[in-house]
């Protein structure tokens, strides 16, 4: 059984690794597939062979997934492909586990969902970290997933896990209060507040507009939060905008004062709302 692998920005690929990987990408591994119908079966065999190299198995997965876009040609191996992806969920290679879980989740695969939920409830059974698991589960966020997401948002110290939890909570009316509180809390990291803004819009667009107006008027808010508020207002209700004299005045000021991006945003809003 695998333990949760804590995913933070610190675990992202380093630039040097990224460059090396980019170079490797330029030389995609040769799979030497036969021409014709057997090619996809061959690719399936490479994908499932844990003794083969990771680059060749990843390439086999790419070839197979690309072939799914040709519906009728792929039908002959579709069931085998799904079975292979489900097997990869427990593969020793984390990259293959992640890729398989992503592909299965986008197809709302029951087995992947059950495995991911099991891992969130029992971390000793998890095949990926909780942030990744929540992301994959967000493609079909039902009540069971949402309650787990609420718990993780409150308990986790990992920003990535909390951001992903917010994404899941965005389709959960019971989470509205938690999201509003996170958005208003200046002690929360900017990224959490920005994701809260996106989540709140999905649940209660009017509440987001209320917050956005206050955020733009609040001179103690950081630039990124004010910009998020302005971006929200940009797509808000024009009538409401024309009724708020203080907000109109503030946006008018921002057209000439502040950073370049703020000026651009303020000008854009002014043009849209004819201020």
């Amino acid at each position: 059984m695998r333990k949760h692998t804590r995913r933070t920005t610190a675990t992202r690929p380093k630039p040097r690794r990224a460059r090396a990987a980019a170079s490797a990408d330029a030389k995609r591994p040769e799979l030497a597939l036969q021409a014709g119908d057997k090619a996809l079966s061959q690719a399936l065999a490479i994908l499932g062979d844990t003794e083969d190299t990771l680059p060749r198995r990843m390439e086999a997965l790419r070839v197979l997934q690309a072939a799914t876009f040709a519906e009728n040609q792929f039908d002959a191996i579709r069931a085998d492909y799904t079975a292979a992806l489900r097997k990869l969920v427990h593969d020793p290679q984390p990259q293959l586990r992640q890729r398989a879980l992503g592909l299965l989740s986008r197809g709302r695969d029951d087995y992947a969902q059950a495995t991911l939920l099991e891992g969130l409830r029992h971390p000793d059974r998890a095949v990926v970290g909780p942030g990744d698991a929540l992301s994959y589960l967000s493609y079909n966020a039902h009540a069971g997933v949402q309650s787990v997401a609420r718990s993780l948002f409150k308990e986790s110290k990992d920003h990535v896990v909390r951001e992903q939890a917010l994404r899941v909570m965005a389709s959960d009316p019971a989470s509205r209060g938690v999201i509003r509180a996170a958005l208003a809390d200046k002690k929360e990291p900017v990224s959490i507040r920005q994701m809260s803004a996106a989540a709140l819009h999905a649940l209660d667009p009017q509440a987001l507009q209320d917050w956005a107006g206050k955020a733009v008027l609040d001179k103690t808010e950081p630039d990124d939060i004010v910009a998020t508020g302005l971006t929200a207002i940009q797509f808000g209700d024009a009538a409401r905008m024309s009724d708020d004299a203080a907000l109109r005045k503030r946006i008018g000021e921002m057209r000439t004062k502040g950073s370049g991006r703020m000026k651009r945003l303020a000008k854009s809003i002014s043009a849209k709302h004819k201020l």
């Binding site: 995913r7 690929p13 990224a18 460059r19 990987a21 980019a22 990408d25 330029a26 995609r28 597939l33 036969q34 021409a35 119908d37 057997k38 090619a39 790419r62 070839v63 997934q65 690309a66 072939a67 799914t68 876009f69 040709a70 519906e71 009728n72 990259q95 992640q98 890729r99 992503g102 592909l103 986008r106 197809g107 709302r108 942030g131 990744d132 992301s135 967000s138 493609y139 079909n140 966020a141 951001e163 992903q164 994404r167 389709s171 920005q194 994701m195 996106a198 989540a199 819009h201 999905a202 667009p205 990124d224 910009a227 998020t228 302005l230 971006t231 940009q234 797509f235 991006r261 651009r264």
Partner: protein, 421 residues
Amino acid sequence: MKVEIEINDSPQAAARYLTWAWSPCRIRVTDPAGITGTSAAVRLDQTALSGGGSIRFASTATGAGAATHSLSVPRDGTTVSFFVRGLTASTADPGVQITARQTGATASVGTVSLMVRIRKDATTLTNGERDRLIAALAQFNNQGLGRFADFAGTHVSAGSLEAHGRPGFLPWHRAFVLDLERELQAIDRSVAMTYWRFDRPAPALFTPQFMGRGTFNGPGTTQVTFAATNPLRFWRAGPAPGITRDPAFNVGGASPGPLSQAAALALGNPGALYRNFRRLESPLPGTQHDYHGMAHVSFSGPIDSIPTAAQDPLFFFLHCNVDRLWAVWQKQQGRFDVAVAAAYETAAPPHRVGHNLGDTMWPWNGVTTPPRPNFALGGTLASSPCVSAPGPKPQVSDCFDYQGAIKLSNNMGFSYDDVPL
């Protein structure tokens, strides 16, 4: 004397947009004061405005056209036809002003401003073009509450057989991209769909200011990074907000590595047949020579799977490029006319419904009885104030002569920057 000039034979300002195709126009006298005789000799010329671009005039929809045009306009208000087309693209609206003057005079007797609106490579857009496009996308999506949901909800597993794996793949996606483009133009007339040339590096596309930046070789779970001022940061087209799109290639300097354009165009050989060319849709087993499918799976995220691909707005830039490549091939091989057998793939017995030239296409036809899917989102294909084709319920055959090269009325109202008429 005063004249009125109509572009695309319409008095609407919304119709004042040109492509490389000839647009029918007309001019008539609205105030005959000062005209001696039964008609006035009028010269039309052009002035580049802030949006730039240039046009050509002609009395018939043929030939290269000229920078100016002279015609005789009856005093009694009878309209006189002429044609204009774009020669170079505008970057903003308005781009070109047409001015009418009586021959030999300097005073204007009528003007009209227009834009040469062309689909361009996403990496060549000005900041203004980029910002208007993403603003229109964001507004149409309305942060998950707008009509973009119809597009995301159409390109799903249940509708897949209407659009994939068969000859209708290219016509169906041409209509799909056009439908969205027209919806965006209803928000901002100056916007044209853009294309992602995925056989070339496109670093200017994958920036926080444009389509966002994912994590190289990431697990397909991290959100694309957008600038705080990018309205796409509130994108939502699936159950959860945000866009997940981790590239398997270095977006800063590499392409995903599918076929080069030249190799993809050669797929039509031997015989320059559509049957061969449409193999660009999916991998050729054993060769890994894939153009379209491999571009989709060069990312980990919704765009890599049919059920979720259209949730990512990059889907439309990707498919605009697939459509552009078809347009390039059509131009090279003369394959605009469905009467030419090699322009499409007919079969006996017929293909699955939806893939034969005379079939209407789902979802625009609204048919929800088997074998069509049991839903059809979004209604008919959006109309255009500039052209009438391909109509609200297009047939497969309506999506070939997109610039009206065979018949002017076939013009679908779009052109690509690198595909002439």
